[in-house]
Amino acid sequence: MSDTTRDSQIDAAAVTPAVRGTLPPVGDDVVASVVRVSKAYRLGGHLVRALDDVSIDFHRGDFVAIMGSSGSGKSTLLNLLGCLDRPTTGRYILAGQDVARMDDQTLSRVRGRYLGFIFQSYNLIQQLSVVENIAVPLAYQRPPLPGGHDRCLRLAELVGLSGRLGHRPTELSGGQQQRVAIARALVNNPQVILADEPTGNLDTATSHEIMDLLDALNRAGRTIVMVTHEDDIAARARRVVRLRDGRIERVSENRPAAS
């Protein structure tokens, strides 16, 4: 994908107000596909099936919320989607490649290139400033992305933190920190943004601000997969996937795309 496309996406997200009701259509092309994936590990002599024969496709422009009680396998699924873990059996196709059997080095590169991460506890690096935190994934791009610094500045503006570029994470509120994390998740122009309880540490008002931002990104064409256990947060996604005991219990459409 060329740089101009990336930039136009960002700008579109920046200027598009969160208009409810009319959503751009989800594309036909599948960006991430989980095919008959199982994940099992030994825990105190017992074989635990964290994921049991799960198959699910994620289309371009989709916004999926993964829900489920603790132990349902939603964290395991997110780790697999994030290429932080490999399935015991099954295939995971990301950007046209099967990443299930990749070695550690290649997986790292895949994460850096195709994925963006948003965490519950923001996970910013304390000794770095806002703009430096946004730039962290750029250090791991091979080949390097051109115009990195400008991208960081534009993304900081996009998430509304232009005035705090030099601040340290400790000098920011939780909502502001999460905005930095979102900008960071966008800097490498990922295929999929993975959000692990992005509003888990935030109050209701701030949660909705963050969700507005994610919503805007999705409208601009970003694919987002989000784990949450809060119903009102999940309601902001297009689809909700409910997991139970390592299996997909139900997939429901919240807001069908305008066709």
Binding site: N79, G82, L84, D85, D104, Q105, S108, R109, R111, G112, R113, F117, F119, N123, L124, I125, Q126, Q127, L128, V136, P137, A139, Y140, Q141, R184, N188
Partner: protein, 441 residues
Amino acid sequence: MDVLQQIRLGFRSLMLHKLRSGLAVLGILIGVTAVIWLVAMGEGVSFQAQQQIKDLGATSIIIRSIKPADESTLDTNSRMGISYGLLRDDYDRLLSNVPTISRAVPMREISREVRHRDRAIDGQLIGCTPDYFALNRLPIARGRPLTEVDLRTYANVTVLAHEAAGTLFPIADPLGRAVQVGQEFYVVVGVAAPRTAAAAIGGSLGARQYDRDVYIPLSTFRTRIGDRVFTVRAGSTQLETVELSQITAVVDSMSDVDETANVVKSLLARYHKQVDYAVVVPKELLEQAETMRAMFNVLLVLIAGISLLVGGIGIMNIMLATVTERTREIGIRRALGATRTEIVQQFLWETVVLSGTGGLLGVLFGFLCGPTITAVRAAVAGGLPDVWAALPANIRNLEPRLAPWSVIAAFGISVGVGILFGIYPARRAASMDPIEALRHE
């Protein structure tokens, strides 16, 4: 990330714990400074020694009389006492039989009390020829040196060494006045300039001091003092007969020195029943000193290595703590695309910044070696004059000589130590499971 960014990042991360990083830097700093200082002082000492040996003359061969340890083999009878050492015949034989010897300077010395009125010193009475002054680089500060005429006329004249003159004549001008040795009086005709001690040569352990010498013509020595000397030792007196204390043979070129020395040895061996002499070749001393210096330097580097090793362990300790503390950061970076190699690199750069900073500061302090020693010396000389006077001349005159190789080596080793001791913590950081690392509190 380029090197500059890596170094900047490493520096920033280390600034998270200023005290801790500072202490680790201090460990390396002390190690590096110690290396540079030790080597500089060692070089200073060995330079001094070499200078002293060179003063003996690289083209000289020094032959000294030595009292053999086993006295029973000596030419002994109760009336004549013992007789040993170099003979005047040896001097003639050397000059006539060894063509490579261009000149030879004989000398006879003895410890004697030298007086002027109520003042006295335990001096070294030296009978010598005019050549002796040039040979030993003894410039005359005032008056004149001994001459051939003095030698021929058995003149009762003397040249005083600097300190001897100063002690005997604290105020008055010594020139033209007389000093007394035993029953004899000698007119002072010259005063030598001060001269530092020369290297120790065969038979005498200490460095040759010139400060209390009293020079008289060799011919005068022979007539006034004679070859026979009473020595009092362990309560009994002993009569010793020694014709010459030392002959310094000078060769024209350095390349002839070794061969000439061998010829001299075999010549002397033919006429001496026992080895009552020693042949010292300053050139060999110079080579020995060179070997000593190399060994000394190896020793210093070893000590330095140990101190840097300790510094390195300090660094490893810090980095292990850092890695544990920053587990979360490692997890974040791994999730955001960092490979294991990149994590290893990041933490290695951090240790290199740590040890490199210590190394640079150490080099900086290393350069302060000269001024510091000068300052300390001035402080001791000013504040504790008694202590100062009691110090050996070698220490009083020590000038540290900064060795460029030691600066480069010390800095290089410090950075090397950083890398070596950084590898384990860095690998530990990289081997973490990113999921576990992200969960770390």
